[in-house]
């Protein structure tokens, strides 16, 4: 990217936004010190997403609290208790847009006691933005965030080596951290990693190219975020349509209408396709893919549509429409990694929970905890199988009814589930099927 087109891109930020922009969700994690808030603040500020009255308000709050400068963290730390303590507790969602894309940032705390919030933010992200302080290199928190990004199968990771201004904009410093991270990432299941040396404070390589690092010839962060290919992040191969809701209008006009409403979880469904229904195993053909705006020829993720079949068959919420030659695993035995979210540890032995998977809800019992995982060392602990708040564990579950599942790494929708404690109704765990 030349200097000219960079300033063009920035000018465009001020212009109107086309309605054909794509949506990209990315997660960040980190503490106050590593410059995360400064970076987010800069992305928002440079894309004109911080408003004057908002800015005046946080400026006034910063001054009242006797802080130096304007504390951009106050933008995202919205709750009273967070502002009092000066920490991010819950996931905060921030929004900004450029002419090319609209961005949703899931901003999460980086401390180990908030692992569950990191997992939550990572669950829907296309990109994980990992920040490393150039002076400190890889620290525990970097490893934790990277591991969670790989566990949650975020398709792309962008590693920003920040505070380059405090490391003399040194290419050696950048290269040594890059190498260290690459070695560590070899142990993780990560497909796409990208490195960028930046200074969030001074704006080097955030939106504009750095004048201070002529040795770096790659893209700026904004350019990366605007251009990273996310078109293949969904699974377009394996056709999966969990039935969410059955539409029966019961009106004279639509007397025999029976539509299966849902969101496509995988694959491309076409009108006329032969399909198989689970759990019954019956086959039929797609008579119509219906929407309010008219019929569609095909439907693919993440569209919400209504399917009509040629035959009158019994099909209801929790069932799944698939292709006869490409079926998910139909099973009552679930092998999965879970992240535990609750202060009450996992009930053992044979703890019972409600399991929610796509549009299905079943009961399950925990047959076995194979190991717990130390997310700093990635060490598997086979002896200590107690699962506490924020722990990651490998478990085997038995469900009361068969689920229609795929491996999480092949499909984030049909491969994920949550566990609910029936006594409290709380969501107590997130699961990724292996």
């Amino acid at each position: 990217m030349t200097g000219q087109s960079v300033s063009d891109a920035k000018n465009q930020l001020m212009g109107t936004i086309d309605q054909d922009t794509e949506l990209l969700r990315f997660s960040t994690a980190g503490s106050v010190d590593d410059g995360k808030s400064t970076l987010i603040g800069r992305l928002l500020y440079d894309s004109k997403s911080i408003f004057e009255d908002q800015y005046e308000q946080i400026k006034a709050t910063s001054e009242r609290r006797g802080e130096e400068g304007v504390n951009l963290a106050l933008l995202t730390d919205g709750l009273k208790s967070e502002r009092e303590q000066g920490i991010t507790i819950d996931v905060a969602y921030r929004y900004f847009a450029t002419p090319k894309r609209k961005f949703i940032i899931a901003d999460t705390p980086g401390h180990i006691q908030y692992t569950r919030n990191m997992v939550t933010g990572a669950s829907t992200a296309n990109v994980a933005l990992i920040l490393i302080d150039a002076r400190n290199g890889i620290v525990e928190q970097t490893k934790r965030h990277s591991f969670i990004s790989s566990l949650l199968q975020i398709p792309h990771i962008v590693v920003c080596i920040n505070k380059m201004d405090l490391a003399d904009y040194s290419e050696e410093a950048y290269n040594s951290i890059k190498e260290e991270f690459s070695n560590f990432a070899n142990k993780l299941d990560v497909k796409d990693i990208h490195f960028i040396p930046i200074s969030a404070l001074h704006g080097d390589n955030v939106v504009d190219r750095s004048q201070n690092m002529p040795w770096y010839e790659g893209q700026t962060l904004m350019h990366y975020l605007e251009n990273v290919h996310i078109g293949s992040d969904h699974n377009f191969i394996d056709c999966r349509f969990p039935v969410q809701h059955v539409i029966r209008p019961y009106t004279d006009e639509h007397h025999d209408y029976r539509g299966y409403a849902g969101r496509v979880a995988g694959g491309i469904f076409k009108k006329g396709d032969e399909v198989m229904l689970l759990p019954s195993g019956f086959t039929s053909k797609i008579a119509k893919i219906d929407t309010y705006d008219g019929e569609l020829e095909e439907a693919f993720p993440p569209m919400s549509v209504t399917m009509l079949l040629e035959d009158d068959l019994d099909l209801s919420r929790g069932d799944m429409i698939v292709r006869p030659n490409n079926q998910p695993n139909v099973t009552q035995d679930i092998d999965a990694m879970i992240c535990w979210f609750n202060e009450q540890p996992l009930k053992q032995p044979r703890g019972k929970y409600v399991l929610r998977h796509t549009t299905q809800e079943v009961n399950c019992l925990v047959k076995e905890v194979r190991y717990t995982l130390d997310i700093n060392s990635l060490h598997r602990n086979l002896e200590d199988t107690k699962v506490h708040l924020n722990d990651i564990a490998r478990v085997v579950l038995r469900t009361t009814k068969p689920l229609f599942v795929d491996e999480y790494r092949n499909n984030r929708i049909t491969g994920s589930f949550v566990l609910v404690d029936e006594a409290t109704n709380n969501t107590v765990a997130a699961g990724m099927i292996i």
Binding site: Q19, T76, G78, L79, P249, T251, R263, D290
Partner: protein
């Protein structure tokens, strides 16, 4: 063939998914309708989600009695067109029967009184899910909201103990007497809403478009002239071209100097403005955490 959809269509698909999830997981949902653009968009999305069937829940309007007359007319026309059921909770009646007490003074507002009436209507109607058009980009406490937001039997929000919400798996389980607030358009920004309303050619109240109106300045905000606001002696009436960016009570909704009289001009204005949409809402300005405080008590 390119298997990408635009951000507006992706947001639409997400909202439709949430609306269908509500119809499946709850026994008696209700859609909170204020007459503002966000709730108008919600009604539009609900019509899409259940097409060709009717929207499977009624609309609930908490009427403060201080609405712009245009809002009420628009509401009644829309309900008639949809063939939907409308429930109106009246703040005036609540004041008359002594359930709540009216604020006094120059900045008196019925905004806070809406909470009691809303909770009363939810209880009377035995509603277990109340759908609202709140967005996370609107306000910092709303930025922390879940799609499925749990409320205890007093309608209270506990922001520190929210249920984790992952992927698209929503947990609507509750104990007897508790309910949920559901926010299907959480991820939309103000600009997204306007772009979508323009794309879908959704009809909107005239208040959103620039028009001539008698207004006066108070605390940095322009307020519309109406018999229900008592003006101070130094508050002079002036005629200006204005429009509303949000629509709430006349007492607390600031109007905005603008000549945007079409959706295209509004989109242009929204995408270049340097002030937030709720910047003219005096109800948010009462304290730094006024939204969080109200939400904890059961405000939407």
């Amino acid at each position: 063939m390119n298997y990408n959809i635009s951000h507006l269509r992706e947001l639409e698909a997400e909202s439709i998914y949430v609306l269908r999830e509500v119809a499946s997981q709850f026994e008696k949902p209700v859609l909170m309708f204020s007459g503002g653009k966000d709730s108008i968009m919600m009604v539009h999305l609900a019509a899409k989600a259940f097409f060709p069937a009717r929207i499977p829940f009624p609309l609930l309007h908490v009427d403060t009695g201080h609405n712009f007359p245009e809002t009420i007319k628009f509401r009644d026309d829309l309900v008639a067109k949809l063939g939907a059921k409308l429930i109106v909770g009246s703040v005036q009646t609540a004041i008359d029967t002594g359930m709540v007490r009216e604020e006094k003074g120059f900045n008196a507002s019925r905004n806070g009184l809406q909470t009691a009436v809303l909770l009363d209507e939810l209880e009377k109607g035995k509603f277990d899910a109340a759908l609202g058009g709140a967005r996370r980009d609107e306000e910092k406490a709303r930025a922390k909201e879940r799609f499925f937001s749990h409320r205890d039997e007093f309608g209270q929000w506990d922001p520190k103990n929210q249920r984790p919400e992952l992927w698209n798996l929503f947990n609507g389980k509750k104990h007897f007497g508790e309910h949920f607030r559901i926010f299907p358009i959480s991820n939309w920004t103000e600009l997204d809403v306007w772009q979508y309303l323009a794309l879908e050619e959704v009809e909107l109240p005239s208040l959103y478009f620039a028009h001539k109106r008698k207004v006066f300045h108070r605390d940095g905000t322009l307020l519309a002239d109406t018999p229900i606001i008592q003006r101070k002696p130094n508050e002079e009436l002036i005629e200006k071209m204005v429009r509303c960016r949000t629509i709430g009570d006349m007492t607390c909704t600031g109007v905005w100097e603008s000549d945007a009289d079409s959706l295209e001009k509004i989109i242009q204005e929204v995408s270049t403005t340097r002030m937030t949409e709720r910047g003219g809402r005096t109800d948010d300005k009462r304290s730094e955490t006024s939204m969080e405080d109200r939400k904890k008590k059961g405000y939407f």
